[in-house]
Amino acid sequence: MGFLQLTSLSKRFGTFTAVEDFNLDIEKGEFVSLLGPSGCGKTTTLQMIAGFLEPTAGRITVEGEDLVAIPSAKRNIGIVFQSYALFPHLTVAQNIAFGLEMRGITAMERSQRIARAIDIVHLKGFEARFPKQLSGGQQQRVALARAIVIEPRILLLDEPMSNLDAKLREDMQLELRQIQQELGITTLLVTHDQHEAMALSDRIAVMQGGRIVQIGAPYEIYENPSSRFVSTFLGKSNLLPDPAQMARQISLRPEKTRLVPAGQGKLQGRVTACIFFGAHWLYQVDTDHGLLLAYEQNLGAARARNGETVGIDWDEAHLRHLEGQE
């Protein structure tokens, strides 16, 4: 039995169904991401766990205890908000102290725990600063420290990295993952960023239209997307017609293809774009099956030019048959 269990969870706003028959079991200490485009219901789900929204139907339990019956102030859940939601009139230390004060923890223990939290997020020396005097990355660390200092049963992260620039985001992701594993804290991340979900999660739940369409370890999902939606939302995918069943499609990841001289390989086409990404080249090839993408590891200069005719080859083992049309 999972530590955090969401059972047939639904949320309707009037006639609009945001979340429908949502089921998810999260183990203690696990890091799970809800990944999906905006409007897929992932934030609504998070808000129901936090207690800001009441489910229309279904159950949320932690260690078997019904969470819906508990007011959000008593749920003992740490949340890092997209906007960080720091208290602008309080210093870094006061921000982190807030949750401890609410729990009536003595001043002495409070200062010890604040010091430890500040240590964990590497903010030593910033205790007396106000949020306005910090960079985006530092503000995010404060938000994280404020959430973990209360030793919550669950940590909820609501698009926590979306306001950081790309380089900082990567650093923070590594750091966040490290902190989460060190503390062994059960974490649920809500994001639309596939890279973030893959870098951080033990498991990813891909959401679409208020439901989970596929769940599993990042590698597992990436390698075996169940539907066209998953194969294109999580990474890029070439969609080929399934020769066995006309209505179905086959997914072929661009990095599983090889460019070969014209006349060889399984498909022929004309190169319409060739883009250099540093670690790899991206070729766009116009074939009988439409535009296909091919990644080639950067082992030397570009292997084909615009307008050149090339062949594309792949191993049959890399083809993935998708269920249904969507």
């Binding site: 936090a50 207690g51 800001f52 959000s72 102030a73 008593k74 749920r75 003992n76 859940i77 740490g78 949340i79 908000f81 997209q82 906007s83 939601a85 720091l86 208290f87 602008p88 009139h89 807030f98 949750g99 609410m102 729990r103 106000f130 306005k132 404020r146 209360i150």
Partner: protein
């Protein structure tokens, strides 16, 4: 930073001069030893300042105006904060109507308001009472308080409240420790504007003032219509000096930008 060109500098200088000149003239005139309004050049005197002390009416009116402005601004603020929270956060029936009503004193001519207040006070027999005047002024300054409070409520990140709740704060604690401090700059700014507006208010006050409750602007106005002694200049000069002192203190303690423009730290 952009540098101002010579024309801009001249323009700004003239503009400031245009604003300050009348005040300077009033202060200048207040030092005349003569019995009529005149700008002194050789003889200077504090005669009209002593005269303020001798005629108890002005002092009494000053304290009345001060108390009235304080009470009206405070009462208005107490009503405006819940109103602003409701208007900014909930979409209820009659929301637009309520907002328009709170802001209507700005749009209705003061004369009309004054007459209306007088009739209303007579109808509920509170004419000539201090509390009646406070009530009227509170309504009159409501738009200023509401506008500024509304701006800070709208501008605040509501997730901060959710954060406080998730950290274990009750609704009451969340308001006291998070919401209130976050909208405080707007509230203080609105209160100050309301205070100044009430202290300065003449048109409405002329109607609702009574012989025993004459605000300072009304007393000055009455004085001018009857005589033209330089005491109006010396009273005005005292107000100017007091305002200046208050502004300096506020700037030192708090920063005027933060107070009136709402720029946060």
């Amino acid at each position: 930073m952009n540098q101002n060109g010579p024309f801009a500098l001249i323009f700004h200088a003239l503009f400031i001069l245009f604003m300050i000149a009348p005040l300077a003239v009033v202060v200048w005139v207040s030092f005349t030893p003569l019995g009529y309004i005149d700008a002194p050049t050789t003889d200077w005197s504090l005669r009209w300042y002593r005269e303020i002390w001798n005629s108890s009416g002005f002092i009494q009116s000053f304290w009345l105006s001060l108390g009235l402005a304080f009470a009206a601004a405070t009462l208005s603020l107490v009503a405006a904060v819940p109103a602003a929270l409701a208007i900014a956060r909930y979409d209820f029936h009659g929301r637009g109507f309520l907002t328009a009503m709170f802001l209507s004193p700005l749009m209705i001519p003061s004369v009309v308001l004054g007459i209306a207040f007088l009739r209303f006070m007579t109808a509920i027999s509170i004419t000539g009472t201090f509390y009646g005047m406070v009530l009227c002024h509170a309504v009159f300054v409501m738009p200023f308080v509401l506008r500024l409070t509304l701006a800070s409520v709208t501008g605040m990140d509501r997730q901060a409240e959710n954060a406080a709740i998730s950290l274990g704060a009750s609704n009451m604690t969340t308001f006291r420790r998070v919401t209130f401090p976050m909208i405080l700059p707007g509230m203080v700014g609105g209160w100050v504007l309301a205070f100044i507006t009430s202290f300065d208010e003449l048109t409405v006050s002329v109607f609702i003032a009574s012989p025993s409750l004459t605000t300072l602007p009304v007393r000055l106005f009455n004085h001018i219509t009857q005589t033209t002694t330089p005491i109006v200049a010396s009273v005005s000069a005292v107000i100017i000096f007091l305002s200046l002192a208050v502004i300096l203190i506020l700037e030192r303690l708090y920063g005027l930008d933060r107070l009136l423009v709402g720029t946060k730290r």
